[in-house]
Symmetry: C2
């Protein structure tokens, strides 16, 4: 006979923690997607499971723009570059770009090609130290607001992905960001927002120089892109920085396609996850025709290759974290 | 009155572990060097100490050749390249280099300059996948022997440095290798020998390409050096990969000088350590005049900059690990 005290003890000590801890992904809707994520993590971390991976092989790589935070109407780092460019000296810019910038014609700025965008980026991303650049980015992130949602950009991260990052780390995975965005930029907020330390951020790299200023050696950002971490370059940067094939790759665009293919072709358990922006009401809806975050080939291949396609409208209870 | 049983209990439970645990660096001779190492680690990891560093700032970077393992009579990776080159097709080599190789004239091979060495490296370090390259390096490390000591190369690591790596990790430091040697090469043995996982190895990089072989995507090593991780490039690769200035830098040559300067110029507690090869009897003695691991400018600057100079003959009880 179980006494009422014992029942109470059992409830508080055994059942309640079980109920509370049962769902590591509360913002994911119950269903196939959520089940597949949990099954993969449990399979690779349960001793004795045929899919068990030792900790040294538990590496997960996440794209950033459109995968961990939003990327519309254009990349947030570009929003930073545009705002800073407004106040900068335009005499070094191509004339059409300078004029477009002066009349706030962002469509033309975005259409200015690699040369134009490189010149634009140089206004805010070059000829200052990494430390000064990061201080300025931090200041901007503290005050800038998204033109449509009016949220701070760091409040446009995806709550379900924050939960997935934590869930993986709680299960011994290292969570890396592998982004087309600049590593110096992402490192400003990756740790407080995603829990990802600077050394687990892989991204595009500007030219960099070690210079002496008043006897002190400083890393200075210089104009020009030294490494564009997108497409075929993502598996290469993973090989170079991490030194092994990840177990999990998460992306949302064709720029992530090579990383997803390469990751999931490894021997043993591998997981590819593709975030599909299907939620016009709560976020944005775009795929094959989008200039930012184009998702075409990877969408065709997700099924045949056995990747999980995350349908944001269907699979996510919540998109952005609740605002205070 | 303490009974003899209680004395015995006290000895086994309190005093013996104290004695055993008291020395985290048993292969370091007592003295100023060892004291300075321990004081820095205790100062940066004791809560309330004015030098306390949170874990996120406990980064230590170690050069490899001449700092963690020996580098004479020439870099061990070069020994690998030479042995593999002997059996390779020499028709792509410059004629003088091919002839020198065929008559075993290593001095001439070493004098063949950047172009010659690049051609030599290409014979063993290019046109195979990273995985195949690493399998071959692993095989070589298992059988090759150092020409003078007849030890396996991985038995020519420095026992005191193995202890320092472990001691730092036990105190929450991340231990990175930042080497002029190839990252792909070092990653083969860094984890089993040093306890350093692949993603904490930064090194020189060859050209790399993602290619499809029978439907599978593979990272292929190509001829040419994409990044020579030496000298001024070491602080840059640390900035790019780790994303912050380390607290501790350890090196042994002028190639480590910029890394030591940049690290120790940071605000707050910083430690520079310079390994000085002074032990002809147990290892090798060389500094200003050496072609391999030249130590000149950094030796002059160690004192004025407050770095610890490790005198191998004086400071190390043991150089290499005892052989089984």
């Amino acid at each position: 006979m179980i006494t009422s005290t014992l029942r109470r003890v059992l409830f508080w000590m055994v059942l309640l923690p079980g109920i509370v801890c049962a769902d590591p992904l509360p913002s994911w809707q119950p269903g196939d997607t959520k089940r597949a994520l949990i099954e993969f993590v449990e399979g690779t971390t349960t001793v004795g499971s045929e899919d068990y991976l030792p900790r040294s092989q538990r590496i997960a790589v996440f794209d950033n723009d459109g995968t961990l935070w939003a990327e519309q109407p254009y990349y947030f780092q570009l929003a930073y570059a545009l705002e800073r460019a407004e106040k900068a000296d335009h005499s070094e810019l191509p004339e059409t770009l300078a004029k477009a910038l002066e009349r706030g014609d962002i469509a033309t700025v975005l259409d200015s090609g690699v040369e134009g965008l490189t010149a634009l980026l140089a206004l805010s991303h070059a000829n200052l130290s990494v430390a000064d650049f990061q201080a300025d980015v931090g200041q901007w992130l503290g005050t800038a607001r998204h033109p449509q949602t009016e949220r701070p950009y760091t409040a446009m991260v995806y709550q379900p992905m924050l939960e997935l990052l934590s869930y993986l780390r709680d299960n011994g995975y290292l969570t890396y960001i592998v982004s087309g965005g600049g590593a110096d930029f992402i490192r400003v907020f990756a740790e407080p927002v995603y829990g990802v330390p600077p050394w687990q951020v892989i991204g595009s790299l500007g030219e960099l120089e070690l210079v002496e200023e008043a006897g002190r050696w400083v890393t200075m950002k210089r104009p020009g892109v030294a490494w564009l971490d997108d497409g075929m370059n993502k598996p290469l940067s993973i090989e170079r920085v991490i030194g092994q094939r990840p177990a999990i790759a998460v992306g949302n665009s064709d720029g992530d396609y090579p990383m997803l293919v390469w990751t999931t072709q490894g021997a043993g358990p591998r997981l590819g996850i593709l975030v599909h922006h299907t939620d016009k009401a709560r976020e944005f809806a775009y795929d094959r025709e989008s200039h930012i975050g184009k998702l075409d080939k990877a969408l065709d291949e997700a099924g045949p290759r056995g990747w999980i396609r995350v349908d944001m409208a269907r699979d996510w209870r919540l998109v952005f974290p609740p605002q205070p």
